[in-house]
């Protein structure tokens, strides 16, 4: 293990991808993912790794290009944000349907309009049902670790699904912070070469991207859903392998000071560590509060959530996106679904916070936690925190 280096997280993400022996990358730069795309292009152009970088005219083509490459058995990477992800929309669900283990870096950014380049989770949430596996980093180190894990997860013979690694735009992508890089030898030990179960080659022809008539489409959906649900087991196993080799722990739902907690607050993404500071301060004041950090968004860890909330009276769920006219925050919807048929479930308060780059401070977490009883009484399914009334 090398000593920590100060590096911008987006640049570090590109360095992590470069450690993974990729064959083909295609990215169309868009704020705030630009530095991933640019730095990876630099690495390949400088000949530091033996890979092809396909310059494309759009995100639609970026994903199409890496899917074609993945079909030939190449290890592939793309990266995007917000409107770029929206532009990939038509292609996104086809990647998991074809079971191509593409890895994507997402610098999460609000979706327009009004036009906004800053962080929230509306981009990934709008593509939630595309069938990609989704994991969230809390900090730069986790982002670096997760990119290396992502290739192993996606390419596992029991998974064979694409995966996106989510990093909050700016809040993570544009911060210079300490990063510990594994050595190339350590990565090689952790991540074996990609062995595709099928690949396009003239010597052994096959057809990919086939038609599914009504007689087969339902079975295709079922097969894909089973693979997605089963991926959780592999993800957990690979995270345990990572911990064994590198000492850093990853779980679908991470817990922080949850022992004896009556109130739990749940975050997804870079707000998690700021929330830890709030929990520390409140614990000092005698408030029995703990933190849950959701690392695995798809497949959603229903069992782990049920286990993690056991014993808590109140669960405060924070969401960085909103389903307009729907049940509120997308994370909270999942959690309500997970707990609906549980005998002793906590009361749930859902706050929508940190939209379009609105800063989230330690004080905000204290207010959300302390204000939870009042919010509960209001009977609203969700509250938009900090909105000027």
């Amino acid at each position: 293990m090398t000593k920590p280096v100060g590096m911008e997280v987006a640049v570090a993400a590109a360095e992590a991808v470069a450690l993974c022996n990729i064959d083909v990358a295609a990215c169309y730069p868009i704020t705030p993912n630009t530095h991933i795309a640019e730095h990876l292009a630099d690495i390949i152009a400088d000949g530091r790794i033996d890979a092809e970088y396909i310059t494309v005219e759009s995100e639609h083509s970026a994903l199409s290009a890496v899917m074609g490459a993945s079909g030939t058995g190449a290890r592939t990477f793309t990266a995007t944000s917000s409107q770029g992800l929206m532009y990939m929309h038509e292609i996104l669900p086809i990647t998991p349907a074809m079971r191509l283990p593409v890895v994507m870096g997402l610098g999460n950014r609000a979706v327009s309009g009004p036009i906004n380049i800053w962080n929230d989770h509306s981009d990934i949430i709008m593509q939630r049902d595309s069938g990609w596996l989704s994991i969230f980093a809390d900090n730069g180190q986790e982002a670096v670790d997760m990119f290396i894990q992502a290739f192993k997860i996606a390419e596992h013979p029991d998974v064979l699904l694409p995966i996106n690694v989510n990093m909050d735009g700016f809040q993570l992508t544009h911060v210079v912070e300490p990063i510990v890089f594994p050595t190339q030898a350590q990565v090689n030990k952790f991540l074996p070469p990609y062995k595709p179960f099928a690949s396009l080659h003239p010597d052994h022809p096959l057809s990919m991207g086939t038609l599914g008539l009504p007689e087969i489409y339902t079975e295709a959906v079922k097969a894909r859903d089973v693979a997605t649900v089963n991926a959780k087991k592999v993800i957990v196993q690979i995270w345990q392998e990572w911990e064994k080799q590198f000492g850093r722990k990853y779980e679908p739902v991470m817990t922080y000071k949850t022992a004896g907690a009556e109130i739990l607050i749940l975050t997804m993404g870079s707000m998690g560590e700021t929330a830890e500071v709030a929990v520390d301060a409140l614990r000092k004041k005698g408030v029995k509060v703990g933190l849950l950090k959701l690392k695995l968004w798809r497949p959603f860890p229903f069992d782990e959530i049920r286990k993690a909330v056991r014993g808590a009276k109140t669960l405060v769920v924070t969401d960085r996106a909103l389903s307009y006219g729907g049940p509120g925050g997308p994370v909270c919807s999942e959690i309500r679904a997970a707990l609906y048929d549980q005998p002793n479930r906590p009361e749930i308060v859902n706050y929508i916070i940190g939209l379009g780059g609105r800063d989230v401070r330690v004080e905000d977490f204290m207010k959300m936690i302390e204000g939870a009883p009042k919010a509960k009484k209001s009977g609203d399914a969700y509250q938009i925190y900090g909105v000027r009334e």
């Binding site: 000593k3 700016f170 912070e177 707000m271 700021t274």
Partner: protein, 185 residues
């Protein structure tokens, strides 16, 4: 934890400064963050950038509202924003040919009362002389180091050389001059 807020204008290199300082601090074995205010950084528009430096892991990811140090790259920005939330025990570091007392009076005139320490250095003059351009970001790093000792002067050598290549030595010279010439009142 030391929290630093930089005030500059788009193109003056405030973001580069916070990156260089974070890299230097991390290289010294400390924990640090360096990040921009995440705005659309248009040339000439007022921008903020931030540093946190600590001996422990830094968890907070919000902007800095109560800095220990406020660094002002450009005299024209002197006003309420540069002292907003600045700790009374902290320091305002300004690039100006004016004396500390004059800066304090100017702040008062702009309805920004500030009783803490003020450090001044004519970074623009240094930058013109050493770099041939009025870009004061690396120069002001020198002043910051003198006031805070947040990292050793030598710790910036490698990050500056990596970032600036053939003009690195000129930048390092400007930085050292500001380190020597800054006045704290």
């Amino acid at each position: 934890m030391l929290e630093i807020r930089w005030h500059g204008r788009g193109g003056q290199g405030a973001v580069t400064s916070v990156e260089l300082l974070a890299m230097a601090a991390i290289d010294e074995g400390k924990f640090a963050q360096g990040f921009p205010s995440f705005g659309p950084e248009r040339r000439g528009a007022p921008v903020e950038a931030f540093n946190r430096v600590d001996t422990k892991q830094i968890k907070i990811r919000s902007r800095i509202y109560n800095p220990d140090v406020s660094v002002v790259l450009d005299e024209s920005q002197i006003g309420p924003a540069v002292v907003a939330g600045l700790k009374p025990s902290g320091t305002l570091i300004v690039n100006t040919a004016k004396k500390a007392g004059e800066v304090r009076d100017l702040l008062k005139k702009k309805n920004a009362d500030y009783a803490g320490k003020i450090a001044t250095v004519d970074a623009t003059a240094i930058a013109w002389h050493e770099l041939g351009v009025p870009i004061t970001n690396t120069t002001m790093l020198g002043a910051l180091l003198k006031v805070t000792n947040v990292v050793k002067l030598d710790a910036l050598k490698e990050p500056v050389e990596h970032r600036f290549g053939r003009i690195a030595q000129k930048n390092l010279k400007a930085l050292r001059r500001a380190y020597d010439e800054v006045q704290v009142r």
